[in-house]
Amino acid sequence: VWARYDDAFAGLPLTLPSAPETGTRHARHLYTVLVDEKVTGISRDAFLEGMTEHAIGVGVHYMSIPEHPYYQSTYGWKPEDYPNAMLVGRQTVSLPISAKLLPDDVDDVMAAVTALLL
């Protein structure tokens, strides 16, 4: 599934998961892409809704810690002080990935992502 996503999305204006470092073994737990509205023309949240309208479940893993009110009120953290974490948290989307996905399911995900970004 991971490899098919990599191939299908290579030409799309998304940031794809980094390749694993040499000597490491990737858990393939979450396939996350970054949706940058300035590049794609669609916001991350609109992308989430678009996938949902195609009946494809998506998630966000995760917003950056300073985005959460607890850390803002308890420690005074501000998302802007952690710009890279903030950016990733506001752009990241987790696509379906599971050993139980059938090839047709993967086609559905690939087609929906492509349709939203064309």
Partner: protein, 222 residues
């Protein structure tokens, strides 16, 4: 394999009629379960903590807004009944949850068996209650999901079932953001203007993922 992908892509790219709100929410409930009622940016495991936080933010204000005479509360768009049973306790009376999504109502019924709580599946926004039969209408993050004729119908139905002097308690996302096909962001002023028969006031707001959630409440004119 490529043919299959292209067929699907073509299908997704064909212009589609906008699905009715109830169909969209049925499908969303099927895809996400109870989490469908939250902002999708929240991870699934946050369902309970978000609900708890909402209660902490909202319930004290509701308690202040009640005058002690209320006995019947309508939870309009109750979803899986996250608040309904607690609301019945707060008024020491009966809470009636309604929602067009069958899956949510089934879930709500499994969570709450008290005689003081009942749930009904409704068709779109019609409320199966007589005129002036409700003391409180609670609407938590529901109207943002309604537009056009559906929104107008919801407003009329809420005003119809709320008794004169009854309390309308709205919680809505008032962030200045661009919406999408099934969610509209409106200002607190927009919500005040929606209900001419209710003296609504924009009372308090809290933050959820950087978005402003406003609590707007008031009593229906006698």
């Amino acid at each position: 394999m490529i043919g299959s992908f292209l067929n699907r892509l073509t299908g997704f790219l064909l212009p589609k009629r906008k699905v009715p709100a109830s169909t969209y929410w049925e499908q969303r409930a099927e895809t996400y379960g109870n989490r469908a009622v939250l902002n999708l940016v929240h991870p699934p495991e946050a369902y309970d903590s978000i609900t708890r936080k909402q209660k902490e933010e909202i319930f004290p204000l509701l308690a202040k807004s009640l005058n002690g005479s209320e006995r019947i509360l309508l939870d309009f768009g109750c979803g899986p009944g996250r608040f309904t049973a607690d609301l019945a306790k707060m008024i020491s009376g009966k809470a009636i949850g309604i929602d067009p999504v069958q899956k949510f109502i089934e879930e709500a019924r499994t969570r709450s068996l008290q005689a003081e709580v009942e749930y009904h599946v409704t068709q779109e926004t019609g409320i199966p209650l007589p005129d002036h039969s409700v003391d409180v209408v609670w609407v938590c993050l529901v109207l943002g999901g309604l537009q056009g004729a559906l929104l107008a119908s919801a407003v009329l139905e809420i005003e119809r079932v709320l008794r004169p002097g009854g309390l309308l308690f709205l919680i809505e996302n008032t962030s200045e953001m661009k919406g999408h096909a099934h969610w509209t962001f409106r200002s607190a002023e927009d919500y005040l203007a929606l209900f001419p028969k209710v003296t609504l006031q924009d009372g308090h707001s809290y933050d959820d993922l950087g978005q402003r959630i406003s609590i707007i409440a008031g009593r229906k004119l006698s």
